[in-house]
Assembly symmetry: C2
């Protein structure tokens, strides 16, 4: 026998863990059935994983006569993750266990345009804070996952020409956090993480081909292709906010172009249009809110629509129809079984979702919409941090990564040579 | 030791074969380096694969002093495949070896609208014919791959509501051929296969995220996501010909809708518009061809454009710009590193490609086009059959399939129980 763990053994462990991570407590018999591994191999790998603290004995299963079979359980508390979802105007941070349960969570307003030093400095403070809340973290931190509102080169963890993140282009986010915390770090686009979060733990579980559309201040999408994130060749896949949907509109987008979907249908566009209509007298309701608070937000428009303000209903419909037209094209192209509508504005009411549905079902090919579902995000405001945790776990428990750390029993090893090699390759 | 081959052993063999299938002749040292397997495991698996006739001794490598290392070679002649690319107006058939080399090839005109019985009956005749040409096939047929011009449910090998294939909806193509030939059969959309062919053996080799756009009588696309085909939830991904690109045009598409890209920019649209312009006197050249031959085709338009007929140049530019607009949106969404332009009309000249490039580079996001290449298909008329062969080989040599047949040494076993189980699942 060789002293180094073989690739094949790591693959077998990864196969067992992928059953146990999702199904909780499982009998050996069931593991054999689901993985196709032999009884002897299952017994050996389970025993190895127990010795590393990743599995323990669960409750006994139901007996069909005789002694009930003993179940094996994944120990989600073997390690912890720090995760963050940095949006255009907010930071969400959380501590999760190895099953992506949120043990502590904090959200606050923050302007991404302040740049990486200020925002990431604040993020480190918030990580300290939630670690304190969750307790038990020192020495058991296994990884960090971070989402940002722009394209990311996944292999190196650096933003690539992000249109709304001045000062962040090429900033080594992974490097900074892996140097500081000495654990493996992954960074991805926020909408990709929301798609992954919904896919692993939310409304998209069981769907292999998914489009997650995030409607917040801006508009972005995250894609799942055959169960895995589709990030594209520069990490900019899903960058639908800057698709040109109108030729002759004079609204300049924050990316510098005109006619972008985001500039016409995003949260900022809704707020701007609402203010215009409040001032020109088309909506009494909006005018009153504007006078009272001095400003109007997309949330105000949604609230007004719920109260029956026809101008606000019309604004949300207009936005939903523009988004729907873009989605109708993407549905023909990508053929998802589910579109998840999320982000701050999406949570605001049914008018927007109804308008999106109307246009997508009306304009896409019948075959592509035959079984297509269009649903609201179920994880809503925690989709991003949940997805960040899912991303780190997918990476840590892949056969390839597992082989690199399971002998030591702690993935901190990965933060060193392995990552630097990857960064050089790309 | 258990008599049944273990999953882990099949994974190791699959890893070795994936190195050998692409790199030809390889030393054991190189296999160890590329797969990460130990020397002992490589030696065992190579010996097993040799005993099954899949590997043999290749030429000796270059020596760096001492005895030159002996190389191992994949035996592409261990088995043969029958492949077909059924288009809207043509059938291409070929015999390939296990490296997708075409040993015999035949193409003829055929109208898909004649329905499955006539078309597939003819296909069986053509299979017999090319088998005769290639020789050595009886007993060594390992699989069949077939492409059709419409969406296919990949798991069962049945067309799903194909817009231009009357009578084919739900037809059990796989079943028919696997019952007849007793070998495993896979069926996919033609554009998907062209994308795969270019990805494995053509201009898209080395690109992980690819859009193949097929411009023939109709228009379709095939997608590669992270090196693998993206087929979507109903196999209708890439169905871009019926994306609505114009609201107010009165051209009815053969799918029944109006304003479809295909109805405005495909080969049939080019031919129709050319005929109109020939008749109304805008092009002397086209009028003369029409008078001489009684009809006009997209190829006539391309030929006229090459000869300097400005009306034909204008028609190709119009078509290219419409296709380019659709692609610009898809580039933002999918972020490919390469767009391959193929199909009968694409081969016709540079005007179309130039117009597509102009619009895509002008309208997509700078980040998405920073390193984006737009190239003509390199396999051109054999992209479909090459891709059909690549599809069958990808399936046969996956770890999961290999495990099911390598003990017997011939994949004919797969055509029975395994496939029927899959068909039930979906």
């Amino acid at each position: 026998m060789e002293s180094q763990l073989r690739g094949a053994q790591a693959s077998e462990m990864a196969a067992l863990l992928s059953v146990l991570r999702w199904d909780g407590s499982v009998s050996r018999q069931e593991m054999i059935r689901q993985t196709g591994l032999s009884r002897a191999v299952v017994a050996q790998r389970v025993s190895q994983l127990m010795s590393k603290g990743l599995l323990d004995d669960g409750e006994a299963g139901r007996s069909t006569g005789g002694r009930p079979p003993r179940h094996i359980r994944f120990r989600a508390s073997a390690g912890y993750l720090l995760v963050a979802d940095i949006g255009a105007t907010s930071i969400d941070v959380a501590v999760t266990d190895l099953a992506s349960n949120l043990l502590a969570h904090h959200a606050e307003a923050a302007d991404i345009a302040l740049g990486p030093e200020l925002i990431l400095g604040r993020l480190e403070k918030l990580f300290e804070m939630v670690c304190g809340e969750a307790g038990h973290i020192p020495g058991r931190l296994w990884g960090i996952g971070i989402g940002v509102p722009g394209p990311v080169e996944f292999a190196t963890g650096r933003p690539v020409s992000p249109p709304i993140m001045p000062g962040w282009d090429g900033y080594p986010i992974r490097q900074r956090f892996s140097d500081h915390y000495r654990v493996p770090v992954w960074v991805d686009n926020d909408a990709n993480l929301m798609a992954l979060g919904e896919g692993r733990f939310g409304v998209a579980r069981g769907h292999d081909n998914v489009v997650f559309i995030k409607i917040g201040t801006g508009i972005g999408a995250g894609l799942i292709s055959d169960g895995l994130p589709h990030r594209g060749s520069h990490g900019s896949a899903g960058d639908v906010g800057h698709i040109q949907v109108a030729e002759d509109r004079n609204v300049v987008c924050r990316c510098g172009n005109v006619g972008c979907l985001e500039a016409l249908a995003g949260g900022a566009a809704l707020a701007r249009e609402a203010e215009r209509r409040a001032r020109n007298g088309s909506s009494q309701w909006l005018a009153e809110v504007l006078e009272r608070t001095g400003t109007l937000t997309a949330e105000d428009v949604a609230e007004a629509a719920r109260r029956g303000d026809t101008t606000s209903v019309e604004l949300l419909q207009m936005s939903g129809r523009l988004i729907g037209r873009m989605l109708a094209t993407l549905v023909n192209f990508f053929n998802p079984s589910l579109i998840v509508v999320g982000g701050g504005v999406a949570g605001a009411g049914d008018v927007l979702l109804a308008a999106i549905r109307e246009v997508v079902y009306g304009r896409s090919l019948p075959l592509a919409t035959r079984d297509l579902l269009i649903k609201r995000s179920s994880l809503s405001s925690v989709a991003g941090v949940t997805g960040a945790s899912a991303m780190v776990l997918d990476e840590l428990f892949s056969a390839q990564r597992l082989e690199a750390w399971i002998d030591v029993g702690h993935p901190a090893e990965l933060s060193g040579a392995g990552f630097r090699a990857e960064a050089r390759e790309s």
